[in-house]
């Protein structure tokens, strides 16, 4: 039996105020999130049971690299007139998403999705929700309006993430996951990279003058680790399944770039989902990169895609050829499984062909190619060199989520991007969650029973029922769409959600 398909994306947004170089990021992110509220803030997210120190390799670390810095910030924040929960300002939305202040960035976590169309719609819904929150916040601000960026760097050595998450069977040994995923993850940036002007490192300013494929590759410092803010790993080993721990893992990938192109989001998550199915079937190509951490930077810094990556037991191979090995093996085994899988396999193969033929056709589909084309067009018009600092500013503006200002959104509005979902689907995703996942059930509960919810975790909802007798809607193994539908129907008919929990 294969693992149920389920995935989601968490995006930390960059936040700034026009004309204000110094802002308090805690207050700004908190106020931004709360701007989306229509009533007073009520704490509903329950952090009980979350432990980012537990490692999928079977141990728990005593501390994370970020703990000391976090403690310092906590000390600073302890003097503020609000509690930890008030600062986090966790909102659970009617679409099942979570919107909150995470590490001083407004973060939007999509509800769990089973299909790429739903996932892309919910990722785009997140963009619009944070932008609408900014619009409301700006109505209250006389000047120095808030600007939000769906990107991953400040060009000064501070990165923030866009994490893609997948439900995985606990029965797959972690070593199989690591071996099967590593060469794929190192090289998937060739179609999922968002592009970046300059090269930087943790806490170190960007050296300009170059254009690279990925925003995050500079910040990958080790192959596998439980850390997420320092010594970032290609494969994060945090073991928080947010599901029945005995049956499932959550693959929490932190290496990816935030994509503006819907097509890139769909291909990034779709190909990763396919590779997980390949690992489950034991059909991944065997490629042992000599140094994956060096390789991920090498690939990113060579947009010609012609560089060979050294391997331990075979001759060196290019990033494109590594991806070709994966798509060929996947096509043999999985083509015909269903329409979505066929779409992924066809597009995966096609994009690899186009990367080595005529890349211009990928403008509007692949972010780094789109950004490179925009910048080169501007450089030609203004007679600029790659060393000009204006280019980093344009890079940032590519990710602005304001349709009136953002460079990518300008292209999209003019019809020059490949869409995976339409505006009606995005607006629906703002209102409600996927009908076939627990994310939709979470959203339904928020929508129908807001006053009866005591607290929420990813895998369960606690309903008020008195101190002695709260009711729990357990969703740690609620992945079968038939069961999801049965619960959904029961909740739609119930006057009291507690009755559904009995």
């Amino acid at each position: 039996m294969t693992t149920p398909r389920l995935f989601g994306i968490e995006t930390e947004y960059g936040i700034a105020r026009e004309g204000m170089p110094e802002i308090d990021p805690v207050v700004e992110s908190m106020e931004l999130v709360r701007s989306y509220l229509t009533g007073p803030f009520e704490q509903s997210w329950d952090y009980t049971g979350e432990d980012p120190h537990v490692d999928q390799r079977g141990f728990r670390v005593s501390s994370l690299q970020q703990d000391r810095e976090e403690d310092q910030f906590a000390e600073l924040d302890s003097h503020r007139p609000f509690t930890f929960h008030e600062m986090k300002s966790d909102l659970v939305l009617t679409n099942g998403a979570r919107f909150y202040n995470d590490h001083t960035h407004p973060e939007y976590s999509t509800p769990e999705c089973r299909s790429l169309v739903d996932l892309v719609a919910h990722d785009r819904a997140g963009e619009r929700i944070v932008f609408r929150a900014a619009q409301k916040r700006n109505q209250d601000l006389e000047s120095c309006h808030v600007k939000l960026y769906k990107n991953n760097t400040d060009f000064h050595g501070h990165s923030y993430g866009c994490h893609d998450n997948y439900l995985v069977s606990r029965g797959i040994p972690f070593e199989h996951l690591s071996n099967g995923l590593m060469p794929f993850l190192v090289t998937r940036q060739i179609f999922s990279g968002a592009g970046k002007v300059g090269i930087e490192a943790q806490e170190r300013d960007s050296a300009g003058g170059v254009f690279q494929i990925s925003q995050r590759a500079d910040f990958m410092e080790t192959q596998c680790s439980v850390d997420t803010m320092h010594d970032r790993p290609i494969l994060n080993t945090r073991d928080e399944p947010h599901a029945d721990r005995k049956k499932y893992r959550r693959l929490h990938l932190i290496l990816g770039d935030a994509n503006m192109c819907e097509y890139a989001t769909a291909l990034k998550v779709g190909t990763t989902r396919v590779v997980l199915e390949m690992i489950e079937r034991g059909i991944c190509p065997s490629i042992d990169l000599d140094d994956p951490v060096a390789a991920i930077k090498t690939v990113s810094q060579n947009p010609t895609l012609t560089v060979d990556l050294p391997c331990k037991s075979r001759k060196a191979i290019t990033a494109v050829d590594i991806q070709r090995r994966y798509v060929e093996a996947a096509t043999k085994a999985l083509f015909g499984t269903d329409a979505e899988t066929d779409w992924i396999l066809n597009e995966w193969s096609d994009v690899l062909d186009q990367l080595t033929r005529d890349r211009s056709i990928l403008v509007g589909r692949v972010d780094w190619i789109t950004k490179q084309w925009l910048l080169e067009t501007f450089m030609e018009a203004e007679n600029l060199e790659w060393t000009d600092p204006w280019l980093a500013s344009l890079d940032l503006e590519y990710h602005n989520v304001d349709p009136e200002a953002g460079l990518f959104l300008s292209l999209e509005t003019a019809g020059n991007s490949r869409r995976v979902c339409d505006d009606a689907q995005i607006e629906e995703a703002i209102r409600s969650g996927p009908s076939d996942t627990r994310g939709g059930i979470r959203g339904l509960c928020v929508s129908r029973f807001p006053d009866r919810i005591q607290s929420v975790q990813w895998e369960r909802i606690f309903f008020k029922g008195g101190i002695i007798n709260p009711k729990t809607l357990e969703m740690g193994d609620l992945f079968d769409p038939d069961q999801v539908w049965a619960v959904r129907e029961a909740l739609e008919q119930a006057s009291n959600p507690a009755s559904v929990c009995e």
């Binding site: 060009f155 509007g364 500013s393 709260p470 769409p481």
Partner: protein, 70 residues
Amino acid sequence: MKNRNEPHHFAQWERRERPIDPGPRPPAPKEDTGGPRRPDSGSPEKDELLKRMRKVDPKQAERYRQRTGE
């Protein structure tokens, strides 16, 4: 009587037949119907794009500072 530590499991439920298929897997993304167009040189679209790019403050990235996230 259940308490907070005894969550309900849906696997215990009796499954009912559903009248219609409420949750078919949403269709795969649509087939490519030509894809996006890169704005041609000298086109109004490209001029508009360049106009928007010229409005971008050349120093905004230099001033842009964030705290490290995840």
